[in-house]
Amino acid sequence: MARLTMLIMSPPHSDESAERMCGLSNRALERGMEVVVYLLGDGVLCSKKGQKGYIGQNIRTAVGKGITVRASAKDLRARAITADQVEQGVEVVEDLEGEFVEDVMEKAERVITW
């Protein structure tokens, strides 16, 4: 199965990056692709539990549909977000940069960074 890998580094509502990520993820899923999203820097804020906005809802739905979402443990800790405050199903990863590299170089057919 072809994989789309994306990297998000901005907060959920500051610009259109997260929204574009959600839209493209949904399209890729419709087409039978595997989707993996990496959240780094301010991007980890997209994974916070309890968001009522569009992005939070999309992250919950995405995880439910099988999209893999991985958030940087270091960036979460720095921002005082504990593991239980992260949306269920989001993976908290210590070496996110390393996993991202492996994914991009060995598994992803399409790579987009926002």
Binding site: E16, R20, G23, L24, R27, R31, W114
Partner: protein
């Protein structure tokens, strides 16, 4: 031959991003790479025609000229219809030769043709 997809997401002039992205597109075309420029979100403003001498008016190079150069060099340019609609931009306001496609089609281009994707 390498295929490059340049995603433009900023309007021209307020930030350097659009100019910089279009410059990469034309440089890549001039070296024989295959290039598609997709304008989405605020990037759709870059597809508009009729910029009046931005260099004289605001000391900025014309992105309209850049897009016309890209077309002359054989690049493909696509503008996101959904983003246009949100911003009140009609097809008549666009450079004639650019393609207008719904967002879903642009997403398909990204997924089908984006061997190398650079975002601006």
């Amino acid at each position: 031959m390498s295929k490059i997809l340049v995603l433009i997401t900023h309007p021209p002039f307020g930030h350097e991003n659009t100019f910089a992205g279009l410059y990469v597109a034309s440089a890549a075309l001039s070296k024989g790479l295959e290039v598609t420029v997709a304008m989405t979100g605020d990037g759709v403003y870059a597809g508009q025609k009729g910029q009046v001498d931005p260099l004289a008016n605001i000391n900025m190079p014309s992105t309209e000229d850049q897009i016309r150069d890209i077309l002359d060099l054989g690049g493909r340019t696509i503008v996101d219809q959904d983003s246009m609609s949100e911003r009140g931009i009609t097809q008549e306001e666009l450079i004639e030769e650019v393609e207008v496609q719904p967002l879903g089609k642009i997403q398909d281009v990204v997924l089908d043709e984006g061997e190398i994707i650079v975002t601006f």
